[in-house]
């Protein structure tokens, strides 16, 4: 039962918020209070491995369960969300109540997703998260860009949803139920399909290549929204899914390598993007993709525990970084990295952000370094190439993390405008502080027993690495820091002196969005437009054929019409001609559906058939004579 309360509590809180009316303080307090309560419930739930079933239909049950990494996630989500919501309550004046309510509902949906024990429940949570992210990203709905971005984000992840649909359907087809529990027992063919579906869904949600660009779009929302989406929720859902289901699907031979490949590609590309981006939030977004890429690599290397640990660490430091960036942008009104350098303007924030940046760089003894080290170990264990890639990614991470921190919160120089002095509110600082302390507290995993704790919380195993690996990564980090400092000094840190075109392309996922637009969106839209036109004026081949035939017949009839001028022949000719004209008219007009053309054809034939009724009795006599002849033919010759 408690596992049902967990997602419902924030949702109920959201409802209460809506009822509270326009009272900013009260609303904020209520929101944070709800989340704290949720956190408490989550902790209680996480310690008890609860489960809850709920009849959907006679044959199907929805199951909620907290086990394995789910327990960690269920605590992590409210834990990270609380300071973010507090921050939002303090900073967002525009539609505060709506934003907070949606954030709470969003947390609820995420908790539902986390506690799902079958595909159907998972899908429900999954899609609700998508929907709420649409409302959150589009929070500033008066801005058409925000609306467009929200739509883009929703649609991209919706593509991934297809994977989940397929996985769910296949699971049912193979096992007769949606439950995860049956996955391992499914036949290999079905498992392969399920694995593909899961990978698609996870990649789309976690902004892996080729879906990564939607994360940029997601930046259109307010800062707290970005912070929440990128850290413990929306984006995390993909990685969570893999952590949760990866072991079950490991039997599919290509699955883990594929996951790892996606991860490597994204980790490297995301790092490059983060390195050359000139917008603070987008740089962080690139880093998010890269970080989730690391988690994918971990899963691919077989170490879900390392991936889980990385997820937790990332959730803490990334939200911290985002909130910091938000304050910087708030202070200067711009996120352009060339104009910030706010060390003097907001030293405390700079310091807290630095904690996040160091975590991002994975500097020991922070918790993030621990998880990174475990990932490295796992990958090296799996394959040296994989390990090498992780090392390169680490180097790049160190570079962009240092670049980010320096460009945003570095010491100002002559080139930067003097920022207005900005006094962050107590709530904002407190939020940052909480997140920073969480980041710091995670260092505890280095302590003895940390390893066991992590393993138990993720129900996975951990590889311990050799000492040289730590040394190597620390060394690399140091080199990177040096390099960045040099570039900073020489003022080439912003674009590294790259040509503008190259820099812009690299910063925008190497032109991936434009490409998607060109090869997917545009063709679909033009296909849709074409089909719509077609639907309005279908001319099918059949009608053309009839028209052609009728024209030939009418030509023949016209010749006969000249030969004999007797009225009835004229009548018959005109009937034929009418038919022909009918067909030709529809052919020429060509503006209406085939059905319409057919109808008009019937109408014109009707017009023509009236001409048989010439009004002259002797024509009727001929009709009778001809009719009689036909009757005789039918009677005499047809049998």
């Amino acid at each position: 039962m408690i596992v049902l309360i967990l997602p419902l509590l924030p949702v109920a809180g959201a409802g209460v918020l809506l009822l509270l009316g326009d009272r900013p303080r009260l609303v904020g307090v209520a929101a944070v209070g709800t989340l704290l309560l949720t956190l408490a419930v989550a902790i209680a739930a996480a310690t008890s491995e609860p489960s809850f079933g709920w009849a959907w239909s006679p044959g199907i049950q929805l199951r909620l369960e907290l086990d394995g990494f789910g327990r960690t996630m269920s605590v992590l989500v409210p834990l990270i969300a609380t300071p973010i919501v507090a921050y939002a309550a303090a900073t967002e004046d525009d539609g505060r109540r709506r934003l907070l309510a949606l954030l709470l509902a969003f947390v609820g949906a995420m908790l539902l997703l986390v506690s799902a024990a079958d595909f159907l429940t998972l899908l429900i949570g999954w899609e609700l998260v998508s929907f709420l992210s649409w409302t959150l990203i589009g929070h500033r709905w008066r801005d058409p860009d925000a609306v467009r971005s929200a739509t883009q984000a929703f649609l991209t992840t919706r593509v991934g949803d297809i994977g989940l649909f397929i996985a769910a359907g296949m699971t049912f087809a193979a096992t007769g139920s949606f439950a995860f529990a049956g996955l391992a027992g499914a036949d290999p063919g079905a498992q392969a399909v399920i694995a593909a579906g899961v990978l698609l869904a996870a990649a789309a949600k976690s902004a892996q290549l080729p879906f990564s660009p939607w994360l940029f779009a997601a930046m259109a929302g307010p800062t707290p929204v970005s912070a929440l989406l990128h850290s413990a929720t929306l984006v995390a859902a993909g990685a969570y899914l893999l952590i949760r289901l990866g072991p079950d699907l490991g039997a599919v031979a290509w699955f883990l390598p594929a996951v790892a490949t996606v991860g490597i590609a994204t980790a490297l590309a995301g790092a490059v993007v983060a390195l050359v981006q000139t917008d603070a939030k987008r740089a962080l977004a690139g880093s998010t993709s890269a970080q989730y890429g690391l988690m994918f690599i971990a899963v691919g290397a077989g170490s879900v525990a390392a991936a889980g640990a990385q997820l937790v660490a990332h959730a803490a430091f990334k939200s911290l970084l985002f909130l910091g960036a938000g304050m910087a942008i708030h202070a200067t009104g711009s996120g352009w990295l060339g104009s910030l350098r706010l060390a003097r303007a907001m030293p405390l924030v700079a310091l807290l952000s630095a904690v996040g940046a160091l975590a991002l760089t994975a500097v020991p003894p922070l918790g993030a370094a621990w998880s990174k080290e475990r990932i490295l170990a796992a990958t090296l264990q799996a394959s040296p190439w994989l390990g090498g890639a992780v090392l390169i990614a680490s180097l790049l991470t160190a570079l962009y993390a240092a670049r980010y921190q320096l460009l945003v919160f570095g010491p100002p120089d002559a080139g930067t405008r003097a920022a207005q002095p900005y006094r962050p509110g107590a709530a904002e600082l407190a939020s940052l502080a909480v997140l920073a302390s969480v980041t710091l507290l995670l260092s505890a995993v280095w302590l003895p027993g940390g390893e066991r704790f992590v393993a138990s919380m993720t129900e996975g195993t951990l590889e311990s690495g050799a000492a040289w690996e730590i040394a190597a990564s620390v060394g690399l980090t140091a080199v990177a820091f040096g390099l960045v400092w040099q570039l900073f000094r020489s003022r080439r840190l912003l674009t590294f002196g790259l040509p503008d075109r190259l820099q812009a392309a690299a910063a925008d996922w190497l032109g991936l969005p434009a490409m998607t637009h060109a090869i997917i969106v545009r063709p679909i839209e033009s296909l849709a437009a074409t089909l719509a036109r077609l639907d309005d004026r279908v001319i099918d081949a059949g009608i053309r054929g009839v028209a052609w035939l009728a024209r030939r017949v009418s030509a023949l009839a016209a010749i006969h019409g000249e030969w004999t001028f007797d009225g009835i022949v004229r009548g018959i000719t005109s009937l034929t001609l009418g038919t022909a004209r009918a067909s030709r008219t529809t052919d020429d007009l060509g503006v209406d559906a085939a059905v319409e053309a057919g109808a008009r054809g019937v109408g014109l034939v009707g017009e023509a058939s009236r001409r048989l009724q010439t009004g002259e009795s002797h024509h009727y006599y001929v009709i009778i004579a001809v009719g009689l002849a036909v009757m005789l033919v039918v009677l005499i010759w047809i049998p």
């Binding site: 004999t564 007797d566 009225g567 009835i568 022949v569 002797h618 024509h619 001929v622 004579a625 002849a629 005789l632």
Partner: protein, 188 residues
Amino acid sequence: MSGELLLDAIFWLFAAGAVVTGYRVFRTDSMVRAAFYLLASFAAVGGILVLLGAEFVGMVLILMMAGEMLIMAIVMVMYMMNPAGLNPMWMVHQHRVAVAAGLLSFAVLAAPVLLVDFPDHPNPAPEKATAQLGEELLGDSMLVFQTAGVALLSTMIGAVVLASRRGRYGEAEEGSTEPSLEQDLEST
């Protein structure tokens, strides 16, 4: 033997007469003349009927046609232009089609003569024909006879209704038309 030959000769005379006069109906300049050709054609057919033993029917046919042709001639004189053949009368339409239809009709009706084996069941007692007709008329065909009577009665009424110039209450055409579209005073 010679009687049969004579019979045949008379028949051929009638036959030729029926067809030729029938043809002449449409090849003459005067309607009156056409009417009399028609009468002649009917008379010839009546003659053949008599030859076949149906004396009563044949004679009735001739008498009836004589009366009818008189009426027809009167009607033509009364209403039709050019009754007496003062001008050449050639008022036809769709001539070619009509010729074709006529020939085709002949062919269709003649075909059975050549192709079909009609039952061979000649009249065993031609001399009793008229008596038999009487019995039939007032016996088995009573209903037919009565119906024909009603038909003739209707025809008489109808002919008067359509053609008489004067009705019971003055001019026959008076008020004989559709109701006016607007409300008249009587009907409420």
